[in-house]
């Protein structure tokens, strides 16, 4: 399958880079102490497993809460847009504007409002996945073909039946695409939101930086990347199961 082959190539390239990196490191290690060898990063992950896990747990909770709330809000906005297209014309620019606010600028404002804790990072995570969901779901809810809507009308289906049997399923590929984009975005958003906090992966990165713990910094980055990627893969798998009839499951993308 095309997807599996793509991942094999990715993995080979990744392993190649890591091996070359390790070799280069051993040859010229002393000159660049700011770039630890992969083995050193691996060692750091093991050494700092407890603090990484304790902080990661918090970030995971915030990311998940943010992904759920941001996506639900995006879905709700999309539903409103599809139901009242006039609102879309007047409010779409507002949504784009909200999306254009840099998350690093939002984080301190939210921190002032809500104080240190889980709220601010969760909201930043939610903001990060709100936009992809709003845009994709708006397209998705309009994806049902005119002929399939004709069919439902000819069958004397109610609005709700048409939604449940045609519009909803037809939007699913778009919703899943938004979730695939949203999962890594939520992890990023939560991390940014924790930057000035007292716990979480973002905080760990920040404190490792100011304390010049280079290996911990890299170790945390690797873990955060892995988590964001895992989120993406989770929804890729879910898409293949839920949208078995869709273009990505049939190898058309």
């Amino acid at each position: 399958m095309k997807g599996a082959r793509g991942w094999t190539v990715t993995l080979i390239v990744l392993v190649g880079v890591v091996v070359l990196w390790e070799i280069a490191e051993r040859l010229v290690a002393a000159r660049f102490p700011l770039v630890p060898a992969p083995s050193a990063i691996g060692g750091a992950i093991v050494r700092f497993a407890t603090p990484i896990w304790l902080n990661l747990r918090l970030t995971l909770i915030e990311s998940a809460l943010g992904l759920v709330s941001g996506s639900l809000l995006g879905l709700a906005v999309a539903a409103v847009f599809v139901r009242w297209p006039r609102l879309e014309r007047s409010l779409y620019n507002l949504i784009v504007t909200i999306h254009s606010i840099p998350l690093v600028a939002v984080a301190p404002i939210l921190l002032i409002w809500f104080g240190v804790g889980i709220t601010a990072p969760t909201i930043v995570a939610g903001l990060a996945c709100f936009f992809p969901m709003a845009v994709n779901a708006t397209r998705g809810l309009r994806a049902a073909s005119a002929s399939s809507l004709d069919l439902m009308r000819a069958l004397d289906a109610s609005q709700i039946q048409t939604f449940l049997r045609v519009r909803g399923p037809a939007s699913l590929p778009y919703v899943m695409a938004a979730l695939k984009l949203g999962a890594p975005a939520a992890v990023l958003g939560a991390t940014v939101g924790e930057w000035l906090g007292t716990a979480g992966v973002g905080y760990l990165l920040f404190s490792a930086m100011v304390n010049f713990q280079v290996e911990l910094l890299w170790a945390t980055m690797v873990i955060a990347t892995g988590v964001a990627l895992a989120g993406y893969l989770l929804f890729s798998v879910a898409e293949r199961v839920l949208v078995a009839w869709g273009p990505s499951a049939r190898g058309e993308t």
């Binding site: 004709d150 069919l151 009308r153 004397d156 039946q161 699913l172 009839w245």
Partner: protein, 233 residues
């Protein structure tokens, strides 16, 4: 304009593109609303007929829902009607009837164009409609598949004994299938001629070669050419 379709009758409507024959069908199915004139379906207005599900519609595009298998697609009208369906047909028997018995649980995108349209016909018949409305059902199929589907459609129709109103560009198809062929003219869309088809039933592949068939085709063709006279092709 006036047209009538009797019980158990097969009426074909031919005409050039843009003469409004599909629109007419959509009006009968209550997919569009007429500004003037009266349409009566089974003694009711098109809206009421739609609420009572008296029409089964087959579109040019089979419109199968890809997230459902063939059986679930055929069952869709029953699911939507819920308790409102008087006495639905056995969907599995219909799938057998249209020759898809082995494909009841197939994914719709795995089917060929002809097979998809077979499933669409089964779906249109599942609520035992009084009239089957067919809008260019085989227009997207290749010639050979189209001929086979016409034979199949006759077989299915003669078993189910519903009335049928079919829109088509193909004169041969119209004559082969119908009891009467109505010829429409473009701008303004009007029925300008009606030809009874005296061919005996059951009709089969040999019918295409019979003198009566060819004679009837040429009569309809002349009418149709007369209808479009003066409009640029």
């Amino acid at each position: 304009m006036t047209l009538e379709v009797h019980d158990h009758e097969f009426v074909a409507l031919v005409g050039p593109s843009g003469c409004g024959k599909s629109t007419l069908l959509r009006l009968v199915a209550d997919l569009d609303t007429a500004t003037t004139g009266a349409i009566v379906v089974g003694g009711r207005s098109p809206v009421d007929a739609r609420h009572e599900r008296l029409c089964g519609v087959v579109f040019q595009d089979p419109v199968l829902l890809p997230w459902l298998d063939v059986l679930a697609n055929v069952r869709l009208p029953m699911e939507v009607a819920g308790g409102g369906a008087a006495a639905p047909a056995d969907p599995m028997a219909l799938i057998e009837l249209v020759g898809l018995g082995r494909f009841a649980h197939a994914r719709t995108w795995q089917l060929s164009g002809g097979m998809r349209q077979r499933a669409a016909i089964a779906r249109a018949l599942v609520l035992r409609p009084q009239i089957l409305l067919l809008d260019e059902p085989f227009g997207a199929l290749d010639e050979i598949t189209r001929q086979r589907m016409n034979l199949e459609l006759l077989r299915i129709w003669s078993e189910r004994r519903t009335a049928a109103l079919m829109v088509t560009h193909s004169i041969g198809e119209a004559v082969f299938l119908a009891d009467r062929v109505l010829v429409m003219s473009p701008q303004p869309g009007r029925i300008v001629a009606e030809e009874a088809v005296p061919l005996p039933r059951p009709r089969a592949i040999e019918t295409f070669a019979s003198a009566d068939f060819l004679e009837c085709v040429s009569r309809v063709t002349r009418r149709l050419l007369g209808a479009v006279e003066g409009t640029p092709a």
